[in-house]
Symmetry: C2
């Protein structure tokens, strides 16, 4: 293709590329309710919707086996997919795992990976229902598809937020990103000085958020117990800024986040400062926290105030008011999407 | 893991590895009817079964971009998954495509790939309902999940064959493998002598079978029209020998193939001889023909004789009689599994 036009993928970014590749496709089945563009696709099944999501993890891009134990990696590969099902307010039932491996990996290494996959299946009560194992030539590739269900009138899309809605998050942010920074730093130190012992003390939480995250199935159950339905929802994979922008784009709204309300743990804050990073930037742009970001009608405020594990962090506003961060000092800044750009 | 036991994956093979990794898993959802071990998983949905299959294609292992046009590759990546749905006697409805790409690929290259994916979606009338695009660091990885449906009493498993059943195939075998040999030969010649023109004349069929195969949706429709239900079915991805062995293993039977009845096109036969290969070995072990291999009750013989596109190639026998090939000369040989071993 040397004499044809060449546009670098980096000029579009991941989401721009997907938009361009998938625009104006024909649809043949009226049961395909929601296709590309949410956490999971929705297939109509009478009173229920079947939720389907798929994610690919590639060695050297999404994980580094220098510090990611295979068992944790197997666990995480399931979690990131289940999280997408919960982000639709559904329950996951089956997972399908395809693994591409090189001959660098032994049967025992694969057993470690599958022990982690199995642990996640047990904790979240999902069935491993299929998959594929093949050679990759080089490196490890894991592709997981998760299938879930929800009553159709309980499915929460990214597109349902309205001006005046309350913006909530289910847990602290930034820790997974800081865990990654610690692991990367220790890897660099180890490569330069293999005899130096790693300095991982008191960083269990941050490292754990990166290596072995959990998905917020418990929150879906909490919502049901409180008879509460979010107006829009997404899981934090790319970062609060980027994921909030997805909600705003699909809902046709703006948003105002309150910096002072964004939950950041003290150990994350301390670690950010140690790395000379702004803690709020880590929370906004770090990603991989797998908390649920959701919006709620103002009428639900009282429910949200007593619901365990919910932090109110802002308000949906009109589109023309933009997507803004109100700093603790009272200034308004326009939010930047700074999710993980792999391209 | 230098001081722990290391078992090479090659000692187990792909199917042995999957068996080992997935044995004795817990099951939490009673709607998971069939998990690992058939062309597709089956999820109970009232009168119907939801069929789910997933497959991963990795550059350098499953395809070579030196001769596989991206558009054909996109088409093929869908076909290999649809074929698994048809092999359950179901109809495919949605596909999910995850692509990992390096910055070697341009937006235009991705548009070629998706043009092929779209063409397959149009020909087979399936919806692209989701997926994922990410960086791969190096090389191209394509993971496709296909979802289909069938009335539960019409789903055909690998496990339903009984001694006395007729073994049938829906088309000629070996051509895809010979197409690959031609392409590999031309690549070697091109690398040694870049000025030599490729010798691809009159090999359109063989090369097409490799680069742009079709799935036998038409046969599923034919079966319905004839009110015919196979007792067991699988698609030919690994090769007739290996795929027949899957049926026999899961059905607890043996089989006897009649060499003289195995359909091989004349151009495939000529090309095999040109490569000093045994045509019947190409048909038995080549793979990637994506024809349907199925078994039928003896009572259906008259239907099968008039059904277009069906070749009767043997008979299911008792397990203790083994899996045998009766040669044209009348000798009986034990079949070897010689599917594509990537490890």
């Amino acid at each position: 293709m040397s004499d044809t036009k060449r546009t670098e993928i980096g000029t579009l970014g991941e989401f721009g590329l997907i938009d361009r590749l998938t625009q104006d496709w024909p649809q043949y089945h009226k049961n395909t309710l929601k296709g590309v563009g949410d956490d999971a696709a929705v297939i109509d099944d009478g009173d229920e919707g079947i939720l389907v999501t798929t994610d690919m993890l590639i060695e050297g891009i999404h994980f580094d086996l220098a510090y990611h134990p295979l068992k944790h990696l197997g666990y995480k590969s399931i979690i990131v997919n289940l999280s997408d099902i919960y982000a639709m307010n559904g329950h996951a039932e089956q997972v399908f795992v395809s693994v591409g491996i090189s001959n660098r990996f032994s049967v025992e290494a694969m057993e470690e990976l599958y022990a982690g996959i199995r642990a996640a299946c047990e904790v979240y009560q999902v069935d491993l229902a299929g998959g594929d194992t093949c050679s990759s030539g080089k490196g490890l590739v894991i592709s997981v598809t998760a299938i879930g269900r929800a009553p159709k009138d309980k499915i929460v899309y990214r597109s349902g937020a309205k001006a005046g809605d309350i913006i909530c998050i289910t847990g602290d942010l930034g820790a997974a990103y800081l865990g990654l920074q610690i692991l990367e730093r220790e890897k660099q130190i180890f490569m330069a000085h293999p005899d130096v012992q790693p300095d991982l003390e008191e960083q269990d939480y941050l490292i754990g958020r990166q290596l072995k995250p959990e998905a917020r199935k418990d929150m879906i159950d909490t919502f049901a117990r409180f008879q509460f339905l979010p107006t829009a929802m997404i899981d934090i994979s790319d970062g609060l800024s980027s994921d909030l922008m997805h909600i705003c784009k699909q809902s046709g709204t703006g948003a105002r986040l309150e910096e002072a309300q964004i939950p950041i743990r003290e150990d994350a804050e301390m670690m950010a400062l140690k790395f000379q990073l702004d803690p709020i930037t880590c929370a906004l742009s770090g990603g991989e926290d797998y908390e649920l970001l959701f919006t709620a009608e103002p009428d639900d405020l009282e429910k949200l105030r007593v619901m365990p594990g919910v932090f109110i962090i802002g308000e949906i506003v009109a589109k023309e008011d933009g997507i803004m961060l109100q700093t603790s000092a009272g200034q308004l800044h326009r939010l930047q999407a700074q999710g993980w750009a792999h391209f």
